[in-house]
Symmetry: C2
Subunit: 405 residues, 2 copies
């Protein structure tokens, strides 16, 4: 209980955040965070909550009334959806091809539900055909749960055909869009998604701490029809709906005011850039990065058509010492990239180009630093080749795609 030695202010150094999140935060968002507080029941703050709901609807491409930012991180969004939609005994089909599918299966079990796993190798996707077969074989199924962007492997799960399949079998479609929202299309209404959650610290480029979340009327009806109350009071979406609803505003908890300031500004930046421009930027920078990395012998884990542009998961040749490179990147260059999780530990890097982190300058910086480190270790790499490969991609692209906000 002695007074601890925290006698100095924490003044973080500049970090170039190219890991699996958090991503870089725009100065306008940092500025929003530092604004003085208003009360969480202040009419001005209630307006801000309305603004965020409207901005999130545009971002999720949905008309769902229940579209909010939950007061917890992306994992709280995952738990809220599972805890509210899965009752004891409910069967839920869940795709497991990485850390987050595994986590979803665990959460379903903890709610007393029965996860019916469709397993795939890490880096692969869950084939629509497998979902179709499982749905036919396992009826009744309460929900199909898929991870749109598997952050542990860099795989993009196709979703276009799953919604209709779910409706045909009376199942809800639950989608984890933690890493995808704001970087690739997430079409909640068009794809027939019933529950979709995300995190703020990925392609929305806001600090971590909130979980954007949208629920279809069908999903809200399922919550109203529950036989048992949700185990969680904090994440009870019926209560949270009454708090965010403009007509009721029933006190539930004290919203994280400063974080919501930040999210509003981050979403404004997303809207100002425009969807197509933002997605094109993410694609281009990923293409340039991968072109450079391949000259260094680093190859993407997922198949070409299933690669996420914001989470570039590349396998390491045996000669590369994972920890040594990442330590040098962080200590000498201030650059963070991510290592592998679970079975991929030590075998892959996860390089995030999310939101503000997805910039031409950042790609060139990272490739240059890697070239230098590789040369220092004497690993075969032709100096300048990686940067050159990226430059080739950029010079062949449309200038408008390369513009920064």
């Amino acid at each position: 209980m002695s007074l601890p030695p925290q006698d100095h202010e924490f003044l973080p150094p500049y970090r170039l955040l190219l890991g699996p999140g958090p991503s870089m935060v725009h100065p306008r968002v940092l500025h929003a965070l530092s604004q003085p507080l208003v009360g969480h029941l202040d009419p001005l703050f209630l307006d801000l909550m309305n603004d965020i709901q409207a901005l999130l609807r545009a971002t999720f491409q949905t008309n769902n009334e229940f579209t909010i930012a939950l007061s917890g991180t992306g994992s709280a969004g995952m738990e809220a959806v599972i805890a509210n939609l899965i009752e004891p005994g409910d069967r839920a089909l869940v795709g497991v091809n990485g850390v987050f599918g595994t986590r979803l299966a665990t959460m379903i079990e903890r709610q007393g539900g029965v996860p019916l796993r469709i397993d795939a190798s890490w880096g692969d996707i869950i084939p629509a055909e497998a979902v179709r077969e499982q749905l036919a074989r396992s009826a009744p199924v309460k929900a199909v749960v898929l991870v749109h962007a598997e952050t542990s492997t860099g795989a993009r799960q196709p979703l276009e055909d799953v919604g209709a399949l779910c409706r045909a079998h009376g199942a809800l479609l639950i989608v984890d869009a933690v890493t995808s929202l704001g970087g690739i299309p997430v079409e909640v209404d068009a794809w027939g998604i019933d529950a979709c959650y995300s995190g703020t610290q990925k392609c929305l480029s806001c600090p971590p701490g909130l979980a954007p979340l949208t629920m279809s009327p069908r999903a809200m009806e399922a919550i109203r029809q529950r036989q048992t109350p949700c185990h969680s009071w904090y994440l009870d979406l019926a209560l949270i709906a009454d708090y965010w609803n403009d007509r009721s505003r029933a006190y539930h908890h004290t919203a994280p005011i400063s974080m919501l300031y930040a999210l509003r500004e981050a979403l404004r930046l997303v809207q100002a850039e425009g969807r197509e421009a933002r997605f094109a930027r993410h694609r281009l920078n990923s293409e340039a990065l991968l072109a450079g990395l391949e000259t260094l012998g680093l190859t993407p884990l997922p198949a070409t058509e299933h690669r996420l542009p914001m989470l570039n998961c590349v396998t390491l040749p045996d000669r590369i010492n994972d920890a040594a490179v990442r330590t040098r990147l962080l200590e000498d260059y201030g650059i963070e990239i991510g290592g592998g999780l679970g079975p991929l530990r030590g075998r892959v890097w996860r390089i995030g180009l999310m939101g503000e982190s997805s910039r031409e300058a950042h790609v060139l910086t990272l490739l240059g630093a890697l070239e230098e480190i590789f040369a220092h270790h004497g690993w075969p790499a032709q100096p300048g080749r990686a940067v050159h490969a990226a430059v080739d991609i950029y010079t062949g692209s449309q200038p408008t795609t390369r513009r920064s906000t």
Copy 2:
């Protein structure tokens, strides 16, 4: 899905926050919020997590190894403690004398536990004698759950004698210190508290969004001995212990980085002021406020010896129009105070003098504004008398207690 009209930056006006939270935030804390991010696994951030644990141990007056800031608001802290310590069938004695005792009973039920309520009138406390009788009558009891500072009524629950009582009956002592921590003594080890949670937006004067939380070795052992897994994965304290533990640092979720920057700085301010000085400041400003309010016919709800200095709950004479005054305070003076909840709606005001909000200047500002509004409405009040009564208290006090940080 049309682009919403959020075409402007949100620039909040200056508000004097004298409600039940959030409280005023020190400029140093706002500055910490606006610092650029480092990764949540960056060695620098892991050091910051250690700093926060040390600072929180000093604030909670505990040596508990498990002393952390949970990634959710104070209500998430409440839920985490209940969800981890109460298993299906467990009986828990819970004091219910306001909104938060009621909420605790609900949460116990949702975990499948059996809440044994000790009810008291709103504004009263739960007598130790009633706890003793219930414990003797209802064995076995897994936990006794008490709200130290009932934010809905302004009552301070005495806790000094309850810990020994709980140990004698093999029950854990769970304490809600959301509003008390940092404003009055909270002595976790000395009082034999096994689980204690708080919020950041009250007397710690940090924005809302985190829940400081400490658990005794006895409480952690109870978690390890659970027969069933905790329903919540997000709030599973065994997993969260492995994430915050310096030796394991097992990835669980992405910590709310910016909010933790802010909390570190807020806790440094708490330590710099010193416990006794801080508590004396809270007492003095409350005394001065109440002296002024009594000249306006507003009398405190709880008995003298059970009043919280940071949450001054006063009853309104019939002639006072609750909503009209609070609206004028907010719109004309930028001052927020709180109204009543539940059965106290329209009948009381809850005036928060928490952390940075507990300042002599703020007390005088509020009393002056109330005098003006009362005069405007023609309610009997002798102009200048309220401010004068407060000034009398201040001039009779020790000058050191009045100093600001």
